[in-house]
């Protein structure tokens, strides 16, 4: 079945450039990409939907691989029925015990051709000699021991692994530690599957292999590992899985484990795509009924406490805001009515781009709530700051809400919030609403437009007809775009009016806009 997906002959080069760093021209030519420099590929990517889609899928693939590996490793202890501490013990102890088995030629492992130093050769010769001694005396030692204490095979094996080795070590002029024990044991057990006995018995939980006590990390240490940007995704997911196991209601220390988990998730970041996907994946288990109830209870306790929120409380708020569940959103709204300062924390939490949807609506709801209770700051500028540096999905939601929302106040807030965007598409939405017949909306759109980055406004100023657009000219003047300076000069404003022009509220803006309609037209 042939694929109907459109293709582009530059896709491979674009992926190589964007995902795998710079390729020089020779590489590009050598691998059949044709000649294309980085800038050309970037420009092509902006125009080519096929390449953009391929890049998106490739990035998703990388993120999925990292997440899958983390989950896979985290589940491993469950698959083999052992905890991490047991596993590390199981793997590492036999490695040191069996290291001198002279069974196979070693693999070539050095980064350069292997030439063993003389002292190592000497050690190997000594080990071989001791192994011969072990082979001669091992069966005898085993038989003697078995005769003295009739016991299980494993006990006999374990005994044989220690006694002759100790003797050999005592007689050897070369200090050679544990490795020799396993060498002699392998020789000493008179079965064809000696290696299997030594190796696989040790690798299963039922063995009596030498155990070394492994320190169990505390909840806090596990939390640090979960949030650490230096740890690999695998390690972070494994640490989180241990924390999750500790959060079960039946676990003895579940409240502390849960607190450590919440603090870790609040501290985790989204500095690149991979860590963002990982962060989102780590939030997923909190949607489980039991953990969600715990989170809701923690939020409810904050609501009832009626005190200033500290770091631990804010961590709960941050995680709840990133989770995006209806129940936690409702709890956050309740909390914000009592603690208006929590909205700042919620807005900050949403700047981490891990919530898939609903972030824009939540912020807008919070704005409605605090405004209706007059607990918000006197004007809209502080609330607008909540939307600064929010992920693009927040603004997309706001733009989608505009045509369907029936409340004028909410539509005005939507428009004002769009002013925090950094996107030309949102500028276009604002331009459309500036032409609205509803004055409150058109003024809000103009004021929001004035808050967009200057580069977007300069583009608008160069493309639009400015003569009849007094709201646009007022917005450009407020933003202090170069093209607007002659108009401001022509107005001959006093200091107080200049301040109103640059820093006035939405309530001031209609009057300010009228100056550009009635008093100053293009410097006349």
């Amino acid at each position: 079945m042939s694929s109907l997906r459109p293709t582009c002959n530059k896709t491979d080069a674009v992926l190589a450039h964007c995902l795998d760093g710079d390729l020089d021209s020779d590489d590009l030519l050598e691998h059949g990409y044709g000649f294309a420099c980085g800038e050309t590929l970037q420009a092509h990517l902006r125009e080519c939907a096929v390449c953009r889609s391929a890049l998106q899928r490739a990035r998703r693939l990388d993120a999925a691989l990292a997440t899958a590996a983390g989950i896979d490793v985290a589940r491993h202890p469950g698959q083999v029925g052992a905890g991490w501490a047991q596993l590390t013990d199981r793997w590492l102890a036999p490695a040191t015990a069996a290291s001198a088995e002279p069974v196979e030629p070693p693999l070539e492992l050095t980064t350069a051709p292997s030439t063993l130093p003389l002292q190592h050769r000497g050690l190997l010769l000594a080990a071989a000699a001791l192994a011969v001694v072990g082979a001669m005396f091992g069966p005898w030692a085993l038989a003697t021991r078995a005769a003295a204490t009739p016991s299980s095979h494993s006990v006999a094996t374990a005994t044989a692994t220690t006694t002759p080795a100790a003797e050999a070590q005592a007689t050897s002029p070369i200090p050679s530690p544990q490795p020799l024990r396993a060498a002699t044991s392998t020789m000493a057990v008179p079965t064809p599957s000696a290696n299997v006995a030594t190796f696989h018995v040790a690798s299963r939980p039922s063995t009596a292999a030498t155990r070394t006590k492994v320190a169990t990390p505390s909840w806090r240490e596990l939390g640090v590992q979960v949030a650490s940007s230096h740890a690999t995704p695998t390690e972070r997911m494994a640490a989180q899985q241990t924390l999750l196991a500790g959060c079960r209601a039946t676990a003895p220390d579940s409240p502390r484990a849960f607190r450590a988990l919440v603090e870790a998730l609040a501290a985790a970041g989204d500095h690149d795509l991979k860590s963002r996907h990982l962060h989102a994946a780590m939030l997923q288990p909190l949607r489980d009924g039991e953990l969600l109830r715990q989170l809701g209870a923690s939020l409810g306790a904050l609501d009832a406490a009626g005190q200033r929120l500290g770091c631990n409380e804010l961590a709960v708020v941050v995680v709840a805001a990133r989770l995006g569940e209806a129940s936690t959103d409702r709890a956050l709204r309740r909390l914000a009515r009592r603690h208006p300062d929590a909205v700042d924390a919620i807005a900050a939490a949403l700047r981490c781009d891990v919530r898939s949807h609903g972030g824009g609506r939540l912020l807008l709801d919070l704005w409605d709530d605090v405004q209706s209770r007059r607990s918000a700051p006197g004007d809209e500028r502080v609330a607008m700051a909540w939307f600064r540096q929010q992920p693009p999905s927040v603004f997309t939601e706001l733009a989608a809400e505009l045509p369907t929302c029936r409340s004028t106040e909410r539509r005005v807030r939507c428009l004002l919030a769009l002013g925090a965007s950094d996107d030309a598409a949102m500028a276009a939405v604002l331009r459309t609403h500036m032409r609205s017949s509803h004055h409150a909306e058109s003024h809000a759109a103009a004021l929001a437009l004035a808050h967009l980055p200057v580069r977007l406004l300069a583009d608008i100023a160069s493309q639009e007809e400015l003569d009849g657009e007094y709201l646009l000219r007022a917005a450009l003047a407020r933003a202090d775009v170069a093209v607007a300076r002659p108009w401001i000069a022509a107005l001959d404003l006093r200091a107080g009016d200049r301040h109103r022009l640059r820093h006035g509220t939405l309530a001031d803006f209609p009057e300010v806009a009228l100056w550009f309609r009635d008093r100053g037209l293009l410097g006349d």
Binding site: S3, G21, R60, L65, R90, T96, S193, T232
Partner: protein, 194 residues
């Protein structure tokens, strides 16, 4: 607007790693555990890419550790320890007859009673589906392609380091990653769509 990802680097040796390594190379077997413990999860992840059976994966990790301990005196530190460990593991994975003995333990199947935290099925189903497809697609890659893509995507290795593991040049490592990615993307198709 530069759309490239941050270029990952070579895995670096920490001070404590150097300390434990020196002690190990001086003959202190007790230093082997603290030296290797930070790399176990990563080794297991790579081993599981090569062996679906968790017991085989464990045995591969264990054999890697045995070889590592045995060859530690000859490790010169010209590459990072993690790179070197991966190199041993990949070599062993390419020659299973050198370390596989007997049969892997049978799973208990339906009788298996998990003692670990299980994610809720409804949220996990999509991720599991994607993971299954991913595993399937990865299995169809050559050993070198699979290793290269894993090291790039999961471990964030750069091409020098991947080349170090696969004993090839950085350019060849890049081509392995690219080819692997192309094949897996072609297999996954709609699973990677927005």
């Amino acid at each position: 607007m530069d759309l490239r990802v941050t270029e990952p680097g070579q895995p670096k040796s920490s001070d404590s790693e150097r300390h434990w390594l020196q002690r190990c190379q001086a003959g202190d077997a007790a230093a082997f555990q603290p030296l290797l413990r930070p790399h176990l999860a990563a080794l297991l992840a790579l081993a599981k890419r090569h062996c679906r059976d968790p017991h085989w994966a464990e045995d591969l990790v264990q054999e890697t550790l045995v070889r590592a301990f045995r060859n530690l005196p000859s490790f010169r530190g010209e590459s990072a320890l993690r790179t070197w460990l991966f190199r041993i593991l990949v070599r062993l994975a390419s020659e299973p007859e050198r370390w596989r003995r007997g049969k892997p333990a049978e799973s208990l199947g339906d009788l298996d009673v998990p003692d670990h935290f299980e994610l809720r099925a409804e949220h996990d189903a999509i991720a599991r589906e994607l993971q299954d497809r991913l595993d399937e697609a990865m299995e169809r890659l050559t050993l070198r392609q699979r290793t290269a893509l894993h090291l790039r995507a999961v471990e964030g290795f750069d091409y020098e380091a991947i080349g170090g593991v696969l004993a090839c040049t950085a350019v060849a490592a890049r081509m392995h990653v690219l080819e692997a990615r192309r094949k897996v993307m072609a297999r996954l198709k709609e699973h990677l769509e927005p």
